[in-house]
């Protein structure tokens, strides 16, 4: 395979929220930027959201990659231009001030904290048209609100990266403000070059500098082309799994890939006597925030196929319940994982291997979350709660919820996550950090990391807003150091 040569001033690897933000701001500041993305360049409407087609088109490995441990956790990564922003729920939760202040102290991050990030967050909110619903809450969201009120817990509507036209009365009239709708077009308009279907395998090093990236580009017909991309500076933004994999494959090991943490999540279908599942309202946006950041209770998007998938094997009177599927919704418990795992690149393959040792404390918190969710939903008329344990019977009486508290069997729950963090943490403590307080890789002169892998721990909230604000801050610092804005 004859290798093709490409040249650029700045190479950005990965086009998710971190990479697209980086490429956009650098291009708008006049730099020669090449943005490289492993997945395809697809429009937002190339597939119905949460459909089988979308999974095939935009998810890595068809959405089925497990991290290994005592209990496996399935994680989802976007693999398309725009990355996770194209497939997530587009929920926008600002970082919790106390989390930022803790990170600042524990990880010794310079010029950090609520005040330091505030202007960058404002920019994120403006650029991605962060909005609350212009119409009333949907029925599943109302169940959470009324349930939380009944329990005396605080709940709130989470804003979304979503643009609603004036006089909007339906979710379908709004549009997702993903990277392909916002930062990527801006980057391209500013002269950034985009190369999709191109996988960066490794960086070539010379002393303390990276001088090229070896990549493979795939044509629409599957033909492959080897590339060597020469650059002055490189931003690696492949996300918490791919970024450490690329770096380790390049010979940059040490602490790279260690420290993996996540927000483990359990889903639980719940049936009511009335309809609670109305797709015209879009993703349910209400969350119980009383127990944040350790524990979040909420509701997912759930069509009939999703509900069937999560219902499990033992369902009495299944036919009737499926015929009345709009009386069911898919609720979730999300916790802030307390353990640390790692990511490795598997020798001889192109694949990443993730290990996360979910422990008894994480599981106990998930179980406690299920119990509280059950109490809350029975308080607002739930009739049946389907256990997330494979093969377990459903719960139809509030008094039986205690079964959940006696502990759930390890290895028999379908735990998943969409939030991963901390495989290349930032900070000033060289015993922990892989990058400095502004994303520059320690001991390397021209490698920067600007994605969720530099967040040093779980955010306890949807991390996209936090990571985009941090990415903006790091780029601003990079530009300022070079005398440009």
């Amino acid at each position: 395979m004859k290798r093709q040569r490409l040249d650029c001033d700045v190479l950005v690897v990965g086009s998710g929220p971190g990479g697209a933000t980086t490429a956009c701001l650098l291009a708008e500041a006049g730099h020669d930027v090449l943005l490289v993305e492993e997945g395809r360049n697809l429009s937002l409407d190339s597939a119905v959201p949460y459909s089988l087609d979308e999974i095939d088109q935009k998810y890595r490995n068809g959405g089925l990659t497990p991290s290994f441990g005592k209990t496996n956790v399935t994680y989802i990564e976007g693999r398309c231009v725009g990355g996770g922003s194209e497939i997530n729920a587009a929920l926008c939760h600002p970082p919790m001030p106390e989390t930022l202040e803790q990170w600042k102290v524990i990880y010794q991050i310079d010029e950090f904290g609520e005040k330091a990030l505030a202007p960058y967050l404002e920019d994120v909110f403006r650029d991605l048209t962060v909005s609350f619903l212009p119409y009333e809450l949907g029925p599943a969201s109302r169940k959470i609100k009324e349930g939380a009120d009944a329990m005396g817990w605080k709940s709130e509507e989470v804003a979304r990266f979503w643009h609603y036209p004036e006089k909007c009365d339906s979710h379908e009239k709004g549009s997702r403000q993903s990277m392909t709708a916002t930062m990527v077009p801006r980057a391209l308009a500013a002269g950034c070059r985009l190369r999709s279907r191109t996988r960066v395998r490794r960086l070539g090093l010379k002393g303390h500098r990276a001088v090229f990236a070896d990549a493979v580009s795939r044509g629409p017909d599957g033909t492959r082309q080897a590339l060597r991309i020469h650059f002055e500076q490189v931003f690696v933004c492949g996300g918490p799994i791919q970024t450490p994999t690329i770096l380790r494959r390049s010979g940059l090991k040490g602490k790279v890939g260690k420290g993996l943490t996540m927000h483990p999540m359990l889903r639980m279908p719940v049936r009511f006597d009335e309809e609670v599942n109305d797709p015209s309202y879009g993703v349910p946006v209400q969350q119980v925030v009383e127990f944040k950041p350790q524990l979040t209770l909420g509701c997912s998007n759930a069509s009939l196929p999703h509900l069937v998938m999560w219902l499990g094997g033992q369902v009495q009177d299944r036919e009737r319940k499926l015929a009345e599927w709009r009386k069911m919704a898919l609720f979730y418990v999300l916790v802030m994982g307390t353990r640390r795992g790692f990511v490795r690149s598997l020798p001889g393959t192109e694949e990443a291997f993730a290990y996360y040792p979910i422990n008894d404390e994480d599981l106990a918190l998930l179980v406690e979350g299920l119990y509280r969710l059950g109490k809350m939903l029975f308080a607002v008329g739930a009739k049946e709660i389907f256990s997330p344990v494979a093969g377990a019977a459903s719960i139809t009486d509030e008094r039986d919820l205690g079964i959940l508290r006696t502990g759930l069997p390890q290895g028999k729950m379908s735990i998943s996550t969409i939030h991963l963090f901390a495989t290349c943490p930032m900070g000033g403590d060289p015993r922990r950090a892989v990058v400095d307080s502004f994303g520059k890789m320690l001991d390397m002169d021209n490698i920067w990391i600007n994605d969720a892998s530099i967040l040093p721990a779980g955010t306890g909230v949807n991390p996209q807003a936090t990571l985009m604000a941090v990415a903006r801050r790091n780029v601003a610092r990079w530009l300022a150091a070079r005398g440009s804005r």
Binding site: G62, N72, G222, W310, G391
Partner: protein, 137 residues
């Protein structure tokens, strides 16, 4: 330019094993009197094969191996591989794996259960709705 490597792996007996697992899972998800939709079932089988191919190799190859072991493991219990068993025998074998104390076996059944049910119901309901909308313009 180099031609793409043909990554598709072929394993004798895999088709029969995957098909019988899909049919059993779908039967479990449907009402007792429901007839399976052959087109949706065909598409589900094809999707399950694709999913196995899409998995990272360190997972896909063990999953394919486990599928074949699951199929032929039926010989020990009932004298027949899973794909040639009766519906009752299949349910019994599935339950044995589902209730196993070995995490991998539980995860194996969970994978087929979730993916087969999601895919079949997606093909049966949502895909049809999409096609109907296209026809009605």
């Amino acid at each position: 330019m180099k031609s793409p490597k043909h990554r598709k792996r072929h394993f004798p007996g895999l088709d029969a094993a995957v098909s019988s697992l899909v049919e059993t899972m779908v039967a479990e998800a449907q009402g007792a009197d429901d007839v399976m939709d052959p087109e949706a079932l065909d598409r589900t089988r094809a999707t399950m094969h694709r999913r196995l191919q899409m998995m990272p190799r360190f997972l896909g190859i063990p999953m394919i191996g486990a599928t074949l072991v699951f199929d032929w493991g039926g010989v020990l219990a009932s004298g027949l591989p899973f794909h040639r068993q009766s519906a009752a025998q299949r349910r019994k074998q599935l339950e044995t794996w589902r209730k196993s104390s070995i995490g991998f076996l539980v995860n194996f059944v969970d994978f087929y259960e979730k993916m087969a049910k999601f895919t079949y119901f997606y093909e049966l309901h949502e895909r049809k709705e999409q096609r109907d909308e296209e026809v009605s313009g």
